[in-house]
Amino acid sequence: MLVPLNPAQWDFSKAAHLLNRAGFGGAPEQIETLRQAGFPGAVEQLLDGPDDLLLFPKPAWAAPQDMTQMRGAIMMMSPEEQKEKKKEIQKNNRGDLVDLVTWWLTRMRDTPNPLREKLTLFWHGHFATSAEKVKQPYLMWLQNETLRQNALGNFRQMVKAMARDPAMLVWLDTRESKKEHPNENFARELMELFTLGIGNYTEDDIQQSARAFTGYRIDPVDESFRYAAFQHDDGEKKFFGRTGRFNGDDIIDLIVKNPACPKFITRKIWEFFVNDDPNPGVLEAIAWNFQRNDYAIRPLMREIFQSAAFYSPDVIRAQIKSPVQWLVQTSKELEIKIPPGLLAMNALRQMGQVPFLPPNVKGWDGGKAWITTSTLLFRYNLSNFAVGNGPMAVEKFRLNNNKPAGPERPVDFDSHIDLAKIAPPEIRADSGKLIAALTQRLFQDSLSPRETETFVKFVEMKKPDTSDNTVRELLHLMMSTPQFQLT
């Protein structure tokens, strides 16, 4: 077990850190509520979040399509009608995808179970599947739900569920894989990216395990997983030194038993939730426990969030916010809505991360890769927009990356920010109090004297003007800093 944090050290700053990393942060009252749960009470609260299914029903359009029926209907159409139908389908898919992105961002913002959503985001980046190839938003939604259901469950179960997930079957071509001609794509990525990492298997292992995943299909009527036995290669396979008539589940069992697996997964999780370059001793400990707990994810997260290492000064506010984190955390801290679908997607794309559209099966690199001179300026300008300071120029989004993006056009959006709440009139005249309140809201900890002085300078400069516009400008200034990019 990792050395746990001394409960006497639990405070607002640590509660904020926990909420920022295990979830998407929060407004000061939310952090205070978590602080009051004490330690390790606060961790247990996050691990045991309520089920939020009723709060976030599935989108109206998220229903399977009877493919046989649709194909039949299309075949009866004239070439022009077919073209029209194809266009209609593409248009609907685009619209539904935008809706799906908004659905998920809103869920991240409002869920009473933030840890599960944050983990769902992690697993989405891990089993990175793109709507660009999968096309049907329904399948992307279905995968998202599967990730969510297994997020705090069991890793072995998760992998087996992903092997059968229809979106994954499309994405890595498993549904094309047949006995006479097994497709290696899934088998390779399964080991290279999802479970073991390069160097822990051979090409033979890939070829042999590919045979085990033959016969995995999508039912044409209700788009669920279907097993086509006659397409499955039932023969003997040699895998990791064992021989047997392995099927997909058997292979996954063997993969997960490989000692490289717990190391690989726990490292990835540590790097996402804590920091890069973890101490080897720490990694060994959590990998060992992960395996001992039979790959249950909840105990792993408990161990991480209770550890003193997690709350080290090296870790707190040392991680660059991903674009999704930036958007959701900002909307929670400023208590504003998520911008409507297409606008949010455009903004996220310019920042480099659109959910459901990872650049490739390796997901997003993250960390410093999020920041270029252009994305940094964009974040600064987006915060201006978030505080309601005027229209924002955002480049028009195109789903098909091979077409040129449209020109930037100014988009107006009222975030309905409540400035009277964020900066109550009674404290505005006192620059010290005002800066302290906003610093707590945006950074949850004190900044360097130099930074604090600069903000005070601004307030003093503006006096006696303490209007809403001044507050907006101040917020914008505070968010246009390197510090605001950290969580």
């Binding site: 090296d314 506010r317 040392a318 690199d365 001179t373 098909n400 091979n402 360097s448 510090q483």
Partner: protein, 450 residues
């Protein structure tokens, strides 16, 4: 290049020297440096001059412009083998009629809309490379693009781009604008160990937007913004006193955020300085030449203005999309070829008027060509080998490589005879004066094009 051999504290110092030198190279006139920076600059500049790899900037050195044709440009309809019956047999509907083709020789010619490129060819400024590709061609957009951007073998992966590796090995201490991508994204070819380069699409918007510009309020918050977006002076000032000591060891406790915060502050400073410079140039320089109306022309005219204004850029990256012509390609291609030919032609005229044409080489590439036979939708599907254009004032014009056979195919696709890495090696060695073997991982034969 191997940072592991440098001790931690000197490395921190080294990177601080890099950005300080950087800040001088790109500094906007209006911004005054704190005293300690001015004082130490001369020493630092002298130290940089001693380093083994001399950093050249675009101000005085040669410039490479990389133009990506995104989607897979159909080479067969770009450089048309009008004398080959096999071409018309394979493309009964979409084949370009012989009478429309602009002949280069008695076998092939340019697509009718490429009058601009034909003129450049006749003037001796265009090298046409035929049959460019790589072994084990991949027909996936993202994978093949990745191969061209990272210059790896088809079965290998590298997260760094070929230009990123060039920046890593040869551009230490260079200005943040050493690589410029027109657009909002950094191309994979720029990905480097040390993040390098800037991207922007519109100079007017490449800045910190602060409303309330009217009145003196805006000026002041702009000043405060700048103060907040540079490395912490107190640390750097102490460095001056404690030369050689670890920055982190000075003044007690290590800063929260550590090296990540350093990185953010450096990027913020780069963003400030490069955006100032870019906007200053874009206000001052207008093209003397008229550009056609197209997204490519917009991008190239912006590049031309930056070159005229002396931005210290060595590599510009520009992209034009729409080449994935699976259906009804004739009309789409007419439009794209017109964009290509006319925009490049205007760009070259602009550079000639500036007197910079001999310093600039432009290179096109696409992730693959397309299949020989047309498909059922009067378009073409993903293929393999295709032509590349390299042009500029110093380019040795002519036709290089072989036109691939239209009948001896690989799975219905043209077989390459020029490895694209040779083209990269040539521009690296001969144009950017960089060691190509270091950047590309091994030796590739050079082509006599520049």
């Amino acid at each position: 290049m191997d940072d592991h051999i440098i001790e931690p504290h000197t490395r921190t110092l080294h990177t601080r020297r890099e950005f300080l030198r950087t800040s001088m190279l790109g500094a906007a006139a209006a911004w005054t440096l704190p005293v300690f920076l001015q004082k130490t600059f001369l020493t630092l500049d002298a130290m940089a001059a001693d380093s083994p790899i001399q950093t050249v900037t675009g101000k005085d050195g040669t410039i490479l412009v990389v133009l990506q044709l995104a989607g897979g440009n159909d080479g067969l309809n770009t450089i048309v083998p009008y004398a080959d019956d096999a071409y018309y047999r394979a493309r009964p509907v979409i084949g370009i009629p012989k009478a429309s083709v602009i002949p280069i020789n008695d076998y092939m010619g340019f697509h009718p809309k490429l009058t601009g490129l034909k003129a450049l060819y006749d003037e001796g400024h265009l090298a046409l490379l035929q049959g460019v590709g790589y072994p084990n061609p991949n027909r996936s957009h993202f994978r093949s693009t990745e191969i061209w951007q990272t210059a790896t073998d088809a079965d290998k992966v590298d997260s760094r781009g070929w230009l990123g590796r060039y920046f890593d090995s040869c551009c230490k201490g260079a200005d943040p604008t050493v690589g410029v991508s027109i657009g909002n994204e950094m191309p994979q070819s720029f990905v480097a160990t040390n993040p390098t380069g800037v991207s922007f699409s519109r100079p007017e918007q490449y800045r910190w937007v602060n409303p309330g510009q009217e009145g003196m309020g805006a000026d002041s918050s702009e000043t405060l913004y700048r103060e907040l977006n540079q490395p912490d002076e107190t640390n750097a000032a102490a460095m001056d006193v404690n030369d050689g000591g670890s920055v982190a060891a000075i003044g007690g406790a290590k800063r929260q955020g550590g090296s990540t915060l350093d990185f953010l502050e450096r990027t913020a400073l780069d963003a400030q300085l490069s955006s100032d410079k870019v906007r200053e140039i874009s206000k001052k320089y207008r093209s003397s030449v008229e550009y056609p109306k197209s997204p490519l022309a917009d991008s190239l005219s912006l590049v031309a203005r930056m070159i005229a204004g002396g931005l210290a850029t060595r590599v510009y990256y520009v992209s034009l999309g729409g080449f994935d012509t699976h259906t009804n390609q004739v009309n789409t291609q007419d439009r794209l070829m017109a964009y290509l030919g006319d925009s490049i032609s205007a760009f070259c005229k602009d550079l000639q008027a500036q007197g910079n044409f001999n310093r600039v080489t432009l290179m096109t590439f696409s992730e693959f060509g397309r299949r020989v036979s047309q498909n059922a939708s009067n378009g073409t599907d993903h293929g393999a080998a295709a032509p590349m254009f390299v042009l500029g004032g110093a380019v040795k014009a002519g036709v290089f490589g072989q036109y691939p056979s239209l009948t001896s195919l690989n799975n219905g696709d043209l077989i390459y005879n020029v490895d694209f890495r040779s083209v990269y090696a040539t521009v690296l060695e001969r144009w950017l004066k960089a060691p190509s073997e270091m950047v590309l991982g091994r030796k590739f034969p050079l082509l006599p094009i520049v």
